[in-house]
């Protein structure tokens, strides 16, 4: 018992110097609306803190950037303070973004409004809305958008609006991760729907990458389940419960039927990993209570997936396909972790007499200690 306490303390102290403000770097979402009269409205949903500090998709997390402190300082500012910082950046911003028509004519844009939300939960990025307006020549056939890579990854789509007939049409999202213009966004034709296989491929990839390598917390949770028992039957039971549960909440949340704020979901996800780690040490056989808890934790993790997926948006015409594809990607991610865990741990030590004492217990305690650190950090109590 003393060993457990000491291990927790040492690992906790070891992790302490890590910065407490740690936002995922999220892509900007850009929606361009063009009316039949040639009026252009652009809504950019992005983290102004990331724009001002130049923290972009090179970093998985803001704390990976050398100027993470500067980001944290901006993140702690109230809306008015941040707005005044952005005012000084407006000209640079307008000079860097670009909207050109099919004749290479640059459309003049100006900032109409900047909406910065309240400080809120500082563990997730504050997404502000920058609204730009301009006028496009009525003879223009298509538009191309440019948003420099230094501002980060982004997704863009265009809406054609016929105000007289009260009709509109959205293009597909284009995800841009290079420093190039978007593909032409048509203003005259019915926008081409992305082929189904492309949607499936994109969302499977998204789901997979959300687990491997980006989802450290999900990786630890799955490893925790594996460590409890590398035997097939209990492992399958746990993974099945987890999968069913996260599918339910992912589906409900993406349909807008159920949601919980991230300030509740994120600490609870961390706490679920602590529980799994600690229970691995004290429990030897799979019991119903464990399955029920894994199911409950799966519901929470599903909300975490939904929060992430919401940032990318869902195609209106293939919502269910995209959702299922994302879930399949998540499953592939989980299976990859299990396969690696089996190859590197189960195959070697699974049948040894000392497996529990020398592998399960230390690894589970380390997982629990890391997750406990996340839990405290995500509570945002200002303790660390």
């Amino acid at each position: 018992m003393l060993f457990l306490k000491n291990s927790f303390l040492i690992i906790f102290l070891f992790l302490l110097p890590l910065t407490s403000y740690a936002d995922l770097v999220k892509p900007a979402l850009i929606e361009i609306t063009v009316t039949k009269q040639g009026d252009v409205d652009i809504e950019i949903r992005a983290s102004i803190e990331a724009l001002l500090t130049g923290i972009n998709g090179r970093y998985k997390n803001t704390k990976d950037a050398p100027n993470a402190d500067e980001y944290d300082l901006l993140r702690r500012m109230n809306s008015e303070q941040l707005l005044s910082k952005f005012k000084a950046f407006e000209t640079t911003f307008l000079n860097k973004v670009k909207l050109i028509d099919n004749t290479n004519q640059k459309i003049s844009l100006r900032i109409k409004q900047v909406e910065i939300p309240l400080r809120g939960y500082v563990k997730v990025p504050r997404i502000s809305v920058i609204k730009l307006v301009g006028k496009v020549d009525l003879s223009a056939k298509s538009l191309q958008w440019y948003y420099p890579l230094s501002f980060g990854d982004h997704a863009v789509r265009l809406r054609q609006v016929d105000t007289l007939k009260k009709k509109f049409h959205w293009s597909e999202w284009q995800w841009l991760r290079t420093d190039k213009l978007s593909s032409p966004l048509s203003l005259t034709e019915i926008v081409r729907h992305k082929p189904l296989y492309e949607t499936i491929g994109n969302y499977i990839e998204l789901g997979y990458k959300h687990i491997l390598p980006k989802g450290t917390d999900h990786i630890l949770f799955i490893l925790g389940l594996f460590l409890f028992s590398s035997a097939l039957r209990p492992l399958l039971w746990q993974i099945t419960m987890f999968t069913i549960a996260h599918t339910i909440t992912l589906g409900l949340a993406m349909n807008g039927l159920f949601d919980l704020p991230e300030r509740i979901v994120q600490p609870l996800i961390a706490l679920s990993i602590v529980y799994v780690g600690v229970e691995n040490v004290f429990n030897k056989s799979l019991q119903k209570s464990r399955l029920i808890l894994v199911f409950a934790f799966g519901l929470l993790h599903g909300l975490g997936f939904a929060n992430m997926l919401a940032d990318f948006g869902m195609p209106d015409n293939a919502f269910v396909t995209a959702l299922i594809s994302f879930n399949i990607g998540v499953e592939f991610g989980q299976l990859s972790i299990l396969l690696m865990a089996f190859l590197f741990i189960g195959l070697w030590f699974g049948k040894r007499d000392w497996y529990k004492a020398l592998v399960i217990n230390p690894a589970s305690l380390i997982i629990a200690a890391i997750a406990f650190y996340w839990f405290i950090d995500r509570l945002d109590l200002g303790l660390i």
């Binding site: 990976d64 195959l347 040894r352 007499d353 020398l358």
Partner: protein
Amino acid sequence: MILFLRLSLFIFLLIAPETVLAHSPIKGIGAFFNGILHPLLVPAQVLAIFSLGLWYGQNQPTENKRSVIFYLIALIFGLVATRFLPADNDVSIILLLGATIIGLLIISNYRLAKSAYRIVGLLFGFILGLDSVQDGLNLKATLLALFGSGVGIYFLLLYFMALSESFSEKTWQNIAVRVLASWISASALMVLALNFAGKG
């Protein structure tokens, strides 16, 4: 079949790093994975862990679990201590000497009291931790690399121990382990000599 799979994986892991770069991170794989590979890339560390793993595996690891626990605790303390010690401490000589002695103990099949296994575990764990200093990285990368090193150093011992335990039933297997141990002692002595020659 399982033994064959394990051996294949083990050999793959050993030959995967193409070059031996002491304390040099491999670009592009991240601090944590660099940390995991670190003990495999430093000759003194891999020899020390190999010898200790073989030794523990040959001496009833089930009854000697505490030695490994001690090794783990000392390793954690050693890794934490790197945060407070200068980056240029060179403890690899102790590891090489230790590997030589442990190799000789395996060859002679000399049994020691249980407490000796624990003390050696403590000593090796702490020094391996100390020898995992990562310089030239920012704080977060340093911590991740140290954490990776801890995982690498601990699991590498378990792999060697498991292999050695699997090779402790038949006479020819015991002989094979002794031959391996003699190679470890010889290699450790050679690296030690090269170390001194380089300094001279």
